[in-house]
């Protein structure tokens, strides 16, 4: 025992020279290593059966590639497909593929794999996103580098989905253990995984495209936002992928070692109304609540002014965006009058929110603003995800809730009467179907009408669009400003 004690003390002393070495380099120390900090860790590597944004964030475009991808401004651009043509009836998509592409297990990538990957979505995937492939009738292999996808009805959203995880291309010989061994065509391979810590991506030596800027990228995971910030401040990482607490941004802005960029996301932070239940089934009440909330003040208080005001379920990177944030101006007097007209002068509502920072701080502002028009609000924080999912999302047991909706183009949820909004408007459903099958120009006009309709109906109160705040060391360049795709895209780094 005593011997071990001495060894331990000797070991502690060993530290002294290491400590005095001063500030140390990050992981590896090599010039072409990058460490990026994230807040949510992937549960495994299989996004075909495991939901959540963390897996595609790490793997899409970096390890897996699709035929097309989304660029930073939300445009669909070529990836594994060099080009594509769409038949006049908009049912046939002909993709010309890059040649000489191979998967990380050595198998060549051909049109057979396109057929395999697309058909596999319907048979093997279990996540809800798989429904994006319902419009596919069949896939034809015209030649090794020519795949034809035939839809059963025209769909504008299908190609967009193909830029997300459902469009990822899998190897016919590389799907046996997706949860731990991803096989893709991308510029990086998964080299190591230490649960609770990091995923190490290493450059794919046989990559068909341009070599990535870094030989190795360490994706490090920090459940605690303060720990994530400290890691950048103390040289443990080079980039914070997204800052969740805006109060912490000034310390990076004030420090000349760092650069901070702010862009937009697809994350609408919504004050959800239970449209299906009194008193919020009354349009006057929903409008009153919407006008009682000063969203500008809320954004300033809850998010330190970072974020974008939106008046509907549409982020500025969608083609049918228009600024509806002024549709219901802040007007407590009108709100009180509307409530009186609805006979709801003595309202008391349950605001059941996930125990997440943005929801907690927004809830407090909303509670005090609604109190000014005589609406009593009780905040009930619910453990996220488990309890919130069960009570609010599944059981619809709530009056008001606040949550960030991160899926791209999730305005379509207002066409689903069973969704937790409880919003049932046949006209919106019709418009959504029309928009998907109409020409691209018609689509934009029709989607605008959807957005205006749900706004006029005050189907929810859109508080703000979550900002994409990225802090990084000055030497890191080429980071995407807007987070529009599902991927944390490492391929644009220079």
């Amino acid at each position: 025992m005593r011997v071990r004690f001495r060894v331990a003390i000797a070991a502690l002393l060993l530290l002294v020279p290491a400590c005095s070495a001063g500030s140390t380099a990050t992981v590896g120390g090599g010039e072409s290593t990058l460490a990026v900090g994230f807040s949510a860790e992937p549960k495994n590597f299989d996004f075909t059966t495991t939901d959540g944004s963390a897996i595609p964030q790490a793997l899409l475009y970096n390890v897996y590639e699709g035929l097309v991808k989304l660029d930073g401004s939300g445009r669909i651009v070529p990836l594994l497909a060099k080009s594509w043509t769409i038949s006049p009836d908009r049912l046939r998509y002909d993709f010309r593929l890059h040649e000489g592409v191979s998967f990380s297990n050595g198998a060549p990538f051909t049109a057979e794999d396109v057929k395999f990957s697309i058909e596999r979505v319907r048979t093997e995937w279990t996540v809800s996103l798989k429904s994006a492939m319902d419009v596919v009738d069949h896939v034809e292999v015209v030649g090794p580098a020519h795949a034809r996808v035939v839809l059963n009805r025209p769909s504008n959203s299908w190609l967009f989905s193909m830029a997300g995880r459902v469009g990822a291309m899998f190897s016919r010989t590389g799907v046996s253990d997706l949860a731990s061994k991803p096989v893709g065509t991308g510029p990086y391979l998964v080299a190591d995984r230490r649960r609770g810590e990091e995923i190490v991506l290493r450059e794919n030596p046989d990559y068909w495209g341009e070599d990535p800027a870094y030989d190795a990228v360490h994706l490090k995971y920090y459940a605690d936002p303060t720990a994530l910030n400290n890691a950048l401040l103390s040289n443990g990482i080079d980039v914070i992928s997204a800052i969740a607490a805006p109060d912490s941004v000034p310390q990076f802005e004030a420090d000349e070692r760092f650069q901070v960029s702010q862009g937009t996301t697809n994350g609408e932070v919504v004050l959800a109304f239970n449209n299906a239940r009194p008193p919020l089934d009354d349009l006057r009440v929903r409008r009153a609540l919407t006008m009682a909330i000063d969203r500008e003040a809320l954004l300033a208080t809850a998010m330190a002014g970072r974020g974008t005001l939106i008046g509907s379920m549409v982020p500025p990177t969608d083609p049918w965006y228009e600024d509806l944030s002024g549709y219901y101006p802040h007007d407590p007097d009108r709100a009180r009058a509307l409530l009186a007209a609805a006979g709801a002068t003595d309202l008391s509502l349950r605001l059941r929110i996930p125990n997440l920072p943005y929801a907690m701080s927004s809830a407090q502002v909303i509670t005090s603003q609604l109190a000014e028009v005589g609406v009593q609000v009780t905040i009930e924080p619910l453990d996220f995800p488990a309890v919130w999912l069960q009570s609010v999302f599944t059981d619809h047991d709530y009056d008001l809730s606040i949550i960030q909706h991160v899926e791209a183009r999730d305005i379509t949820t207002f066409g689903d009467p069973d969704y937790y909004w409880g919003y049932d408007n046949p006209r919106v459903r019709e418009l959504l179907t029309e928009a998907d099958s109409g020409t691209p120009e018609q689509r934009i006009a029709t989607m605008r009408e959807v957005a205006r309709t749900i706004t006029a109906d005050a189907a929810a109160c859109w508080l703000f669009l979550f900002p994409n705040v990225v802090a990084a060391k000055k030497k890191v360049t080429g980071l995407v400003r807007n987070q529009v795709s599902e991927s944390f895209d490492l391929t644009g780094l220079t």
């Binding site: 939901d51 890691a231 488990a386």
Partner: protein, 314 residues
């Protein structure tokens, strides 16, 4: 001696069994459906139902419990609902990190508490003794996570001497491993050290007033010699008791400290598993923690009999 071991061994096993039942029942009443959480927001009810069947969540509680215990008897902790991977190997990995942390925390605590506690006792009438006692009082009031946050701000963020978090396995890079362990071990050990200092002080004070020490002094030993030869072994009995209890709080403290320092130990695994409703994983982790605490108590009981021959007869 053998009888005592057998008796305490039986109590140990019965406690583990009782704990397993309590843990299992707690999981059963926890709100939130594991299948729904695993599948995410847009899963259809049919898919959730199918997944519940796959997980075996639709079976009677007794069947689920017996199934779990049956697996455990064979060393199988089951498969995680969330990752689909076996829980056992991951638990073992994480346990390794936590043991290092708890061990290093205990070491820091002892290195602080033994000299300071004895000093405070021997000089209890002098200002230096009062200062040490006062500092210990202050140290008890500081939670481990706060100590951790302050240490990170000073030594990692401002001075940049040590990493703010993260874990390097000792086999990969021993120096980096030690550097990563210093701050968490100190934040965990400071509080425990402060608590322990007070116990060491009062145990030594008690011993100082005993007749046998006076006898030793009368034989011509200097106060220090008398304390080292005759006093410390006697003072060790109450201190070992407290040490055993402290180990349990150290494990709890480790859960928080792991979060602050991003260490992939049992504590952070537990927090993740709870929020993801990965019930099998939670059950496994909590059971391992409970067994750890019970083992420590078992060991402390045995240690008594070694330290104090009078207890062997009872």
């Amino acid at each position: 001696m053998i009888g005592a071991v057998l008796r305490r061994g039986t109590i140990f096993l019965a406690s583990v069994l009782a704990a397993s039942i309590v843990i299992f029942l707690c999981m059963a009443v926890l709100p939130g459906d594991p299948a729904q959480v695993a599948l995410g927001v847009n899963a259809t009810p049919e898919l959730v139902q199918r997944t519940r069947q796959e997980f075996g969540l639709d079976r009677p509680l007794l069947t689920q419990y017996l199934d779990w215990m049956g697996g455990l008897a064979g060393g199988d902790f089951g498969r995680s609902y969330v990752t689909g991977q076996p829980i056992g190997p991951q638990l073992a990995d994480r346990l390794g990190v936590t043991l290092w942390l708890v061990g290093a925390g205990m070491l820091v605590a002892l290195l602080l508490a033994l000299p300071l506690g004895i000093l405070a006792a021997v000089r209890h009438r002098r200002p230096s003794g009062t200062v040490v006692t006062g500092l210990a009082q202050l140290g008890v009031a500081v939670p481990a996570f706060l100590a951790g946050i302050i240490l990170v701000q000073v030594f990692a963020v401002r001075l940049g001497w040590l990493p703010s978090g993260g874990w390097t396995p000792p086999v990969r890079d021993p120096v980096e491993w030690l550097r990563g362990l210093v701050l968490p071990a100190i934040s965990l050990g400071l509080v425990q050290g402060a608590v322990l200092t007070r116990y060491v002080r009062s145990a030594v004070l008690d011993v100082l007033g005993e007749d046998y020490l006076r006898t030793a002094r009368a034989k011509g030993l200097r106060p220090g010699q008398a304390l080292v030869r005759h006093g410390l072994r006697n003072a060790a009995v109450p201190v070992v008791t407290v040490l055993g209890l402290q180990l349990a709080t150290l494990l709890v403290g480790a859960v928080v400290v792991e979060r602050v320092f991003v260490l992939p130990g049992l504590g952070s695994m537990l927090l993740d598993a709870v929020s993801a409703r990965d019930l099998l994983a939670v059950q496994g982790i909590v059971l391992v923690l409970v067994v750890g605490v019970l083992l420590v108590n078992f060991a402390v009981d045995l240690l008594y009999t070694v330290l104090d021959p009078r207890l062997r007869r009872s």
